[in-house]
């Protein structure tokens, strides 16, 4: 009995010493890194490292899909085309303005201006259609200059519909030998506001405020 008791004690002591030593050995790597230079080096992570799930991100957040990327690609592509058409539209727009017939215009000057106006409107709506049809990304909170750019579209959009109609009315009145009168006399002013809003909307997205 006595022998067994001693044996038990010895075993316990050995176990405790063993535990103690192993605990020290586990500490070893950090002891080895005690000096600053060594402490600063590091190596790639292991399996014990945390995972994205440990961080509490959901599967939906961490897993991408080709569909989302395709939507983003399509959107960027269409908006690039939108910008190109938008910039190109400024050429006939300015020309329409410069060739606007004055009070004593002849019919060919009016036709040139009118023709350019129609081309401008056509290109304008092509520009707009790319912006309108570009896929929207759900959950986007609109921020920055794009808000002004879009707000200005509420001025130049209707303006670009009304201006040519008023222009055509003015042209008809002139061809009938009349002075431009009634609502048609607003054509020039409406056209001017439309041009100003359009140019402002280009500036809105190209200049940083």
């Amino acid at each position: 009995m006595v022998t067994t008791e001693i044996d038990m004690k010895t075993v316990t002591t050995h176990l405790l010493i063993l535990f103690c030593l192993s605990a020290l050995v586990i500490q070893m790597p950090s002891l080895a890194f005690a000096d600053e230079a060594a402490a600063n080096s590091s190596s790639p992570a292991t399996e014990s490292a945390p995972s994205l799930q440990d961080l509490g991100f959901s599967q939906a957040q961490t897993q991408g899909n080709a569909q989302d990327q395709a939507t983003l690609d399509k959107r960027s592509h269409m908006l690039k085309i939108h910008q190109r058409w938008g910039l190109a539209t400024t050429a006939p727009l300015i020309a329409t303005l410069l060739l606007a017939p004055g009070g004593k215009s002849n019919s060919s000057a009016r036709s040139l201006h009118g023709g350019l106006g129609i081309i401008t409107a056509g290109m304008y709506f092509t520009t707009a259609s790319y912006a309108i049809r570009a896929p929207k990304i759900p959950g986007t909170k609109e921020k920055g200059p794009i808000r002004l750019h879009k707000a200005l579209a509420w001025i130049h959009g209707p303006g670009m519909i009304v201006t040519p109609i008023l222009g055509a009315m003015a042209d008809e009145q002139r061809n009938a030998g009349q002075k431009v009168h009634g609502i048609a006399s607003a054509h020039g002013a409406v056209g001017g506001i439309t041009i100003a809003a359009y140019l402002a909307s280009i500036l809105a997205v190209s200049i940083k405020f």
Binding site: L16, C20, K143, I146
Partner: protein, 179 residues
């Protein structure tokens, strides 16, 4: 075993028990990417990163991750283009992994080897320097990771046909606490 041995053994073992595997949690963070263009200087900021560090045998493995779309440059349209060029639909997260010795938690400067996964690429950055300061029970880590657009095979976006610069440094400001 006599009582002296027992006490010695227990006394030696206790600090080790106390220093058993510790864990770090990212409490708050500001990650800022900077891109430059002759016409614009852009900072995109995210406060949505989450991070954890698990320490074992004196080594701590850290993972920090943020959704790519959480970076806000103050222009929602630019952010969506950023998401597109960085293939954020396909790879919605940016993750950073690193391993540091536990003892680094008491140093004022730490250099770390980072593995960054972003835009479908995994890029190692060696020996990135960070400053560390203590604020009560918290550790604040600041530094800049010298990322470039080319590292992640990102097609550099251009404005008025001029592309952005290749440099895309990421400023890091993180506050960690132990769990």
């Amino acid at each position: 075993m006599n009582w002296k041995t027992t006490i010695t053994v227990v006394a030696l073992a206790l600090p080790n028990l106390a220093r058993a595997d510790s864990r770090w949690v990212l409490e708050s963070s500001t990650l800022t990417y900077h891109i430059s263009h002759p016409l614009h200087q852009v900072d995109g900021i995210s406060h949505d990163a989450r991070g954890k560090g698990t320490c074992h045998a004196g080594q701590c493995d850290f993972l920090i991750a943020a959704p790519v779309k959480s970076f806000d440059s103050g222009d929602s349209n630019r952010d969506l283009h950023m998401l597109q060029v960085t293939r954020g639909g396909q790879y919605p997260m940016v993750t950073v992994r690193t391993r540091l010795p536990e003892s680094a938690s008491s140093l004022s400067s730490v250099t770390a080897d980072l593995d960054i996964e972003f835009a479908g690429q995994k890029v190692p950055y060696k020996q990135v320097a960070f400053q560390r300061s203590t604020d009560g029970a918290r550790s604040r880590i600041t530094g800049t990771v010298p990322c470039t657009v080319a590292d992640f095979k990102i097609d550099p976006p251009s404005l008025l046909t001029v592309p952005i610069k290749n440099e895309m440094p990421i400023r890091v400001d993180m506050t960690w606490r132990t769990e």
